[in-house]
């Protein structure tokens, strides 16, 4: 079986947080993920062999995919909770499913069964032995935001502070393993009956990593510690990180200061001036650079809802459930990676072990590089000039499925640092693109 058969996702967080050994099994070594995936075109794995389809056939296929998406969603909706989250993660973050299926799954994001008053009461009684109305001065029964495997409510502490209360779906942490197993069963059945889903080995491997990430995400104690850490280390006065109220927090409940500001969608609706776009865009980019080079830790959940644009010209950064500590030296290789020079890229890839160690530069330049060139050019575009207008950044290039198997065979180990960087960076670029911000990019990626 070729290496297409397996890929590792961004999510092997658990493994990496402890700096454990990089996976070395045959399959894991061949692993590809996140944007690395996009670089070599795995995005279209599900469409392999479909390049020569007629227009009619393409439409038909899209319809069929949507149908499969609906079948999957219905199955997941029955399971609720984790299963749906798993489906979302597979579709949103891993970019591995055909578009129509992804759209169906995306619809489901907004349909997640909310926690009702009975659920919330149960979680509070389990965690604190008291109902929310006893714990807080006031507590809003309706959530104002969804969180991973839970939701966020507004409340007022007895001391008067207004807080955001993140509550985890009861029983979800304990059921992750089982639920992933259920999704596995459904996906296996569906993947047998259709050629539109990626190979089973890929799905299987993705699910393992999804499980690891979910297990990290439901650990609110860890998230509280991460938030505190970022808050203490943050050196940018315009970046605001919420204060955690530890006395009110537990494994399943996380209470933080309620941060002011608007999500990007609401912010864009107000049609902000170009100056404001540039200001906030620059702030986001500088923050990314600050995290990379000064803190050596990435906020690795690029969900747009995690950035709030506040009226005081600042940005509130939320949700520290998924962060990644970078290995020393890693950020310094990025400057080489964000160029268009095959030699520098070859060097960076080799240093990081992304490509086989025995791959010669000639082979890289003529065989591998042409495959990654479109995406490479795309992601390095903002760094070719001292200043870059993100309104000019085209959508991420997608089509380059030819010679896929060849490309995958050239892949060596996947550095988890790279995976997380890709994920955050890709999230940042798409955010800046939506903002149409014009920002100074010079000097933001450094080699020291």
């Amino acid at each position: 079986m070729d290496l297409c058969g397996k890929f590792l996702t961004s999510a092997s967080v658990g493994k990496l947080m402890n700096d454990k050994k990089i996976p070395t099994s045959k399959w894991q070594r061949g692993a590809i993920t996140g944007m690395t995936t996009a670089r070599i075109g795995l995005k279209h794995l599900g469409h392999l062999g479909s390049t020569a389809l007629s227009r009619e056939k393409v439409q038909k296929q899209a319809l069929h995919e949507a149908e499969i998406g609906k079948i999957l969603i219905n199955a997941f909706m029955q399971l609720r909770g984790t299963a749906l989250k798993v489906a979302q993660m597979m579709s949103m973050e891993l970019d591995m499913l055909p578009d129509a299926i992804r759209r169906e799954l995306a619809k489901a994001c907004s349909q997640v069964t909310p926690l009702n008053r009975a659920h919330i009461r149960k979680v509070f009684l389990n965690e604190f032995g008291q109902a929310p109305e006893q714990v807080f001065k006031s507590f809003e029964a309706d959530a104002f935001a969804a969180a991973s495997l839970g939701q966020v409510h507004r409340a007022v502490l007895k001391s008067g502070e207004i807080v955001a209360v993140k509550i985890q779906y009861p029983g979800i942490a304990a059921s992750i393993r089982n639920d992933v197993q259920l999704v596995r069963g459904i996906m296996k059945t569906v993947s047998k009956g259709t050629s539109y889903l990626p190979d089973w080995e890929i799905i299987d491997s993705v699910l393992n990593d999804v499980q690891a990430q979910l297990e990290q995400e439901v650990n609110y104690v860890q998230e509280a510690a991460n938030t505190d850490w970022f808050r203490q280390k943050n050196q940018m006065p315009s970046i605001h990180i919420p204060l955690v109220y530890e006395d009110y927090s537990s494994e399943k409940i996380l209470v933080t200061q309620l941060m002011p500001g608007k999500h990007i969608d609401a912010w864009l609706e107000d049609e902000p001036e170009q100056e404001a776009r540039n200001h906030y865009g620059q702030l986001l980019m500088n923050m990314f650079s600050h995290h990379l080079y000064d803190l050596g830790v990435l906020h690795a959940d690029p969900h747009p809802g995690n950035f709030l644009f506040n009226p005081e010209q600042g940005i509130s950064l939320l949700d520290f459930g998924c962060i990644q500590k970078l290995k020393p030296g890693f950020p310094q290789t990025l400057v080489k990676l964000c160029t268009r020079d095959p030699e520098k890229i070859f060097y960076a890839y080799q240093t990081q072990g992304i490509i086989r160690q025995d791959l010669s530069f000639e082979e890289f330049e003529h065989g591998f590089f042409p495959l990654i060139e479109p995406i490479q050019n795309w992601m390095s575009m903002p760094f070719q000039t001292a200043e870059f207008d993100f309104a000019l950044l085209p959508p991420m290039p997608q089509k380059h499925t030819q010679n896929m198997k060849y490309a995958v065979k050239q892949v060596g180990e996947v550095r988890q640092d790279q995976v997380f960087f890709d994920r955050s960076f890709l999230g940042l670029l798409s955010l800046l693109r939506r903002m149409k911000a014009k920002i100074v990019t010079q000097g933001l990626l450094r080699d020291n």
């Binding site: 029955q78 909770g81 069964t113 009702n116 009975a118 009461r121 029983g171 304990a174 059921s175 089982n178």
Partner: protein, 239 residues
């Protein structure tokens, strides 16, 4: 000396609590009424004034749990505003929460009570009555607020829900999963299903359908030429 109602209730609870502790430790069969009385520090004969048998103590345990559940629901702020779904969920959670400290005892006694013939007869009624009343109130409220449509035979719904509740407890007893997450999932899924059944009006349509079937078949049965009745008549005449 005259004992107040409150004192009586207290003693009754004390006996049940002691019995549960003893039975959890030694098992139902090895614990005698006498040992319960001694541990509860009441007279050997006095205990019979409260409970004629050990079985009645078991039933009283569930009765007390039901009482406490209902009392606890009454303390929840804004509970009357909850939807039927939420009310049922809190009822189940509270009931299971009260059973939790005595899970071992519950697992032994539950089978004894609910799988015994006495359950089918009147003995267990007091236990069910409390829950039935509460479930009835929830449903009346939901009908009044037009949360769910009315349908024929709706008076049996509290009974069905009561059986459902007992079924959930039975599932929970057997649930070995971490934090009983399988029970949580069961409640989520089954309550979701029950609510969509009740809200969809499918019961009405099904009843209409069976009503129609019954009527149409009735004509066939009563058909004087070749109906079922005619055939029975022919058959009996032949004999």
């Amino acid at each position: 000396m005259k004992i107040s109602k409150q004192d009586k209730a207290q003693t009754r609870r004390k006996i049940v609590k002691t019995a549960v502790e003893l039975m959890s430790e030694k098992g139902f069969n090895t614990v005698s009424m006498r040992s319960i009385a001694r541990s509860a520090e009441i007279g050997d004969a006095t205990i019979y004034k409260y409970f004629p048998s050990k079985e009645k103590i078991l039933i009283a345990y569930y009765e007390i749990c039901a009482e406490d559940t209902v009392a606890s629901l009454a303390t929840i702020d804004g509970f009357s505003e909850y939807e039927l779904h939420e009310k049922l969920q809190v009822l189940l959670d509270t009931y299971l929460g009260l059973l939790l400290p005595d899970r071992e005892f519950v697992s032994e006694s539950f089978q004894l009570i609910f799988q015994s013939p006495m359950f089918l007869f009147g003995d267990v009624n007091p236990l069910r009555q409390q829950l039935l009343n509460t479930l009835g109130e929830f449903l009346d409220d939901a009908w009044e607020k037009e949360e769910i449509p009315e349908f024929p035979f709706q008076n049996v719904l509290p009974d069905i829900l009561c059986e459902y509740l007992i079924g959930v407890v039975y599932f929970w007893i057997k649930d070995e999963s971490e934090e009983f997450h399988e029970t949580t999932q069961l409640i989520d899924l089954s309550l979701g299903l029950i609510m969509s059944l009740l809200k969809s009006g499918i019961i009405n349509r099904t009843t209409d359908f069976f009503g129609f079937m019954l009527k149409s078949q009735m004509f066939r049965i009563l058909n004087p030429d070749n109906g079922f009745m005619r055939q029975i008549l022919n058959f009996s005449q032949r004999r």
